[in-house]
């Protein structure tokens, strides 16, 4: 049975919501947390994460060297193309430094970077067991602190006047309740799992997207607040989107459907044509642009084509590659025009210049006078059997969100901060991520703004 009232109501039980609930409870407030999913599927997209990006001045138990505020900021600036808020971003970066200790004290454990992610050992801290281990620790901590957690509880509306919230309407296992709250923390994620909304933004192309994470992020609270005067931030078409195996499930495929082979392949659309420089930079710096690139191709599909030489240079995909002894046969198997693919491959092969292949550096294997070029790791496709992986856009989360200030307060109307509505996590990620993505930023901003939101929300009870 849901309580009739509480001090702090947290909407959403992912990492961001859990950090807010824990911080608010530790500050002395009574806290109710509502999670849309059931217990097995709890935790939103955090369930599929594995690391967060943190600044640090010296090596930690699991991270090497140092990662300064300035460097983190430059990385963010680069991926977002300046489409960010420097004040909020720098605050997040500075506060990210405290996260290792804060989360460790609440049961989160870290490990050395996973194999295949070695380029991130300096910038990112990896959770032992991944994001679900983090959630388990956070839920256990929250329960022990006395946070009241309710699963299968979807918030459908917030009662709000001039930016001041009084209650929320909740559907819990088929019954509707109203919970009065002195403060509300919105941590309910983006709207990527709302097919109708995605179609409004992307048209029919949205039918060909995979939603990598939770099917529960439908943007209901986000839409409700935007309709009640909350200031929006970010473009609805911007999102964290990567290339995933086109054979993966529509929802919740998580990490295992991602493809790491692009740097060692050529990628063609279903007309058999290349459309982007596959070897532009290291994969962790480029993986987040490929979802968008694929979304712009006909039928939102692409094919990574590679040969036997490079098969062992990347993480195995969960689906077997499609293989053939000739390029023409491969084209037949994946259903694209044989001539077109053969032409693209031969054009590419002629453009490849000799170099010394080294996947650990930006090597000098590239193409000459080819459009688009392949700048690194370009080797001729000449060693059968040949392999193909079909790829689709995999949407992680959308960036359209609630504009907040540095106390995580949601801004209403003319940019004036709410006295008791706060936001954290993907629902406000657009404040910092206007476009592009930098591995591990989502969890960092969820934790940092979650703590801030929880601490300030707890003050509303006085």
């Amino acid at each position: 049975m849901l309580p009739a009232s509480t001090d702090v109501l947290v909407i959403g039980g992912g990492n961001a919501g859990m950090c807010a609930a824990i911080a608010a409870r530790e500050a002395g407030a009574d806290v109710v947390l509502l999670e849309h999913a059931n217990k097995s599927m709890r935790g939103g997209n955090s369930r599929h994460t594995r690391d967060h990006r943190v600044m640090h001045d010296e090596p930690t138990a699991t991270m090497v060297e140092s990662y300064s505020e300035e460097e983190f900021w430059q990385d963010l600036l680069r991926v977002t193309g300046g489409n960010t808020n420097e004040h909020l971003a720098r605050m997040m970066i500075r506060k990210s430094r405290e996260l290792l200790d804060w989360l460790s004290a609440r049961g989160v454990r870290y490990q050395q970077a996973l194999s295949g992610t070695l380029s991130l050992t300096r910038t990112n801290a990896f959770y032992l067991g991944g994001g679900k281990a983090v959630l388990n620790a956070e839920y256990l901590t929250a329960e022990r602190l006395g946070v009241e957690i309710f699963y299968d509880s979807q918030v459908t509306a917030i009662d709000i006047t001039d930016g001041h919230a009084t209650s929320a309407t909740v559907v819990n296992r088929g019954f509707t309740y109203t919970i009065n709250a002195r403060a509300i923390v919105v941590a309910s994620g983006g709207f990527q799992a709302n097919e109708q909304w995605m179609k409004e933004v992307w048209g029919d192309a949205a039918d060909n997207f995979c939603i990598r994470g939770t099917p529960y992020n439908r943007g209901v609270v986000l839409k409700d607040l935007l309709s009640k005067g909350a200031d929006p931030v970010g473009d609805p078409s911007q999102c964290h989107a990567v290339a995933v195996d086109a054979r993966g499930p529509r929802y919740d495929g998580g990490i295992v459907t991602r493809l790491d082979c692009v740097c060692f392949s050529i990628v063609v659309n279903n007309l058999g044509r290349r459309f982007y420089d596959e070897g532009e930079d290291f994969w962790p710096k480029r993986y987040a642009i490929w979802g968008r690139l694929l979304a712009q191709q006909p039928d939102q599909i692409g094919y990574a084509i590679l040969d036997s030489k490079v098969l062992h240079h990347f993480m195995p995909s969960v689906f077997p590659s499609i293989s053939a002894d000739s390029i023409e046969e491969l084209a037949r198997k994946i259903g694209i025009d044989e001539q077109a693919l053969a032409h693209t491959v031969s054009e590419y092969n002629h453009a490849v210049v000799d170099g010394s292949f080294d996947k650990a550096v930006l090597d000098n294997c590239s193409t000459r006078s080819l459009d688009p070029p392949k700048s690194h790791w370009a080797l001729k496709l000449d060693t059968p059997p040949y392999f193909a992986y079909p790829m689709k856009p995999g949407i992680t989360f959308t960036y359209l969100g609630l504009k907040v200030n540095d106390e995580a307060r949601v801004l209403f109307g003319d940019g004036s901060p709410s006295d008791n509505v706060f936001a954290t996590g993907e629902v406000m990620a657009g404040n910092i991520l206007g476009q592009g993505y930098c591995a591990g930023t989502g969890m960092t901003l969820g934790s940092v703004f979650g703590r801030i939101a929880g601490e300030h929300a707890a003050c509303c009870r006085n």
Binding site: S40, R109, L114, Y127, G130, L140
Partner: protein, 374 residues
């Protein structure tokens, strides 16, 4: 034309097929890499032929940490249950590598098999005493040196114990050699004294029951607990102490001509008593932990194997300590006979019960610490 892998796949068991599916998905994720040796070994591979899966299944200590942190745990479309899948395969490997083959079926309904063989052994010892000696020796007290042999003749005891124990050791040796060469044929690993020592250290510390953070197995409420590790230590050390006690006693008897019963402060009695205490605490503790634990990652149909083994160890120890307590009374004869009945059952069953998990797991740990060749 079928490839080698496809031919293998055509005749392999469901447990192998499922373990391969699971490992291939896990290998595309690797979030569990820090948890235990199984995942650290998995990431070195891209393909999982059957012997490789047999090895991974035996490397898994069933701590269940991975189940609790897996984003694909049931209920989920992708439906991964690593501990359960590897347990199913692990139990199959006991049967697959067991020697001689016709006895391997004892491992299939193992709870029943262990109970029946133990019942048979208990009866056999009692019948032997009555037939070979006299029923009255069961009820009279014997306190002087060699008095145990009053109950069961020395030659009979040596022949039966030595014969069954020797056979079981041979059977387990052949089993583990088959396991070893099967995995070596699949992919070769070079091992030396270093890998042996590191494997021993893993056994001594039960590192792989630490959950990757050394705080233990994951419990029902997602907290960590070292209870299982602690009770396993009682059981393992209890068994090893009893083994030392028995070996020293055999040495005293055959080499030195010192005949049991031995004084309270002798090596066999001290080790036997400490070991016996370990086995009084460990097995019931493990049973209790098992009953408390989250059953979702467990394979309930194999609980019989575990229960039977734990019960057998417990009763060997209970009767052994009773014998020590009552050896100067007229109850000695009957307690000795019952104790030897349990011990005989254990000797007979060693290669065909949960006992073998230690042998295969140790071999898997040695392989884990070896150096891949080529």
């Amino acid at each position: 034309m079928l490839s080698e892998l496809e031919r293998e796949t055509a005749r392999e068991s469901d447990a192998v097929t499922e373990a391969r599916r699971v490992m291939q998905i896990c290998n595309a994720c690797r979030y569990c890499e820090g948890l235990c040796a199984t995942f650290q070994s998995m990431v070195r591979k891209r393909e999982f032929p059957e012997p490789e899966l047999d090895y991974l299944a035996n490397l898994c200590h069933n701590c269940t940490a991975c189940f609790h942190v897996c984003p694909y745990s049931p209920p989920h479309l992708i439906d991964l249950n690593v501990p359960q899948s590897l347990t199913a395969l692990r139990v199959e490997t006991y049967e697959k590598y067991a020697w001689p083959g016709f006895l391997a079926t004892l491992l299939r309904r193992n709870g029943l098999a262990v109970s029946m063989v133990t019942a048979f052994s208990l009866s056999l010892v009692l019948v032997l005493v009555i037939v070979l000696r006299d029923a009255s020796v069961l009820f009279s007290s014997h306190v002087e040196a060699g008095s145990f042999y009053e109950v069961i003749g020395q030659n009979v005891m040596i022949a039966v114990a030595g014969g069954t124990f020797g056979f079981s050791i041979l059977a387990m040796f052949i089993g583990v050699v088959r396991f070893w060469f099967s995995t070596q044929r699949s992919s070769r690993v070079r091992v030396g004294i270093g890998s042996l020592l590191r494997a021993l250290w893993d056994v001594v510390t039960l590192k792989n029951l630490g959950g990757g953070h050394n705080e233990g197995c994951t419990t029902r409420d997602e907290s960590y607990s070292n209870q299982r590790r602690v009770f396993h230590q009682f059981t393992m050390w209890g068994f090893l102490f009893c083994f030392v006690s028995t070996s020293v006693a055999a040495f005293y008897d055959h080499m030195m001509g010192w005949v049991a019963p031995y004084p309270l402060l002798s090596v066999p009695v001290v080790f036997g008593s400490l070991g016996g205490l370990g086995l009084l605490i460990g097995p019931p503790g493990l049973l209790w932990v098992k009953l408390q634990s989250d059953s979702r990652p467990m394979l309930l149909r194999h609980y019989g194997m575990d229960y039977a083994f734990l019960a057998l160890l417990f009763f060997i120890s209970l009767t052994g300590l009773l014998l020590l307590a009552l050896r100067e009374t007229s109850a000695m004869g009957i307690v000795l006979a019952v104790h030897l009945g349990f011990v005989l059952g254990f000797f007979l069953l060693m290669p065909y019960c949960k006992f073998v998990h230690g042998i295969y797991r140790f071999a898997a740990l040695v392989r884990f610490h070896g150096k891949p060749v080529g």
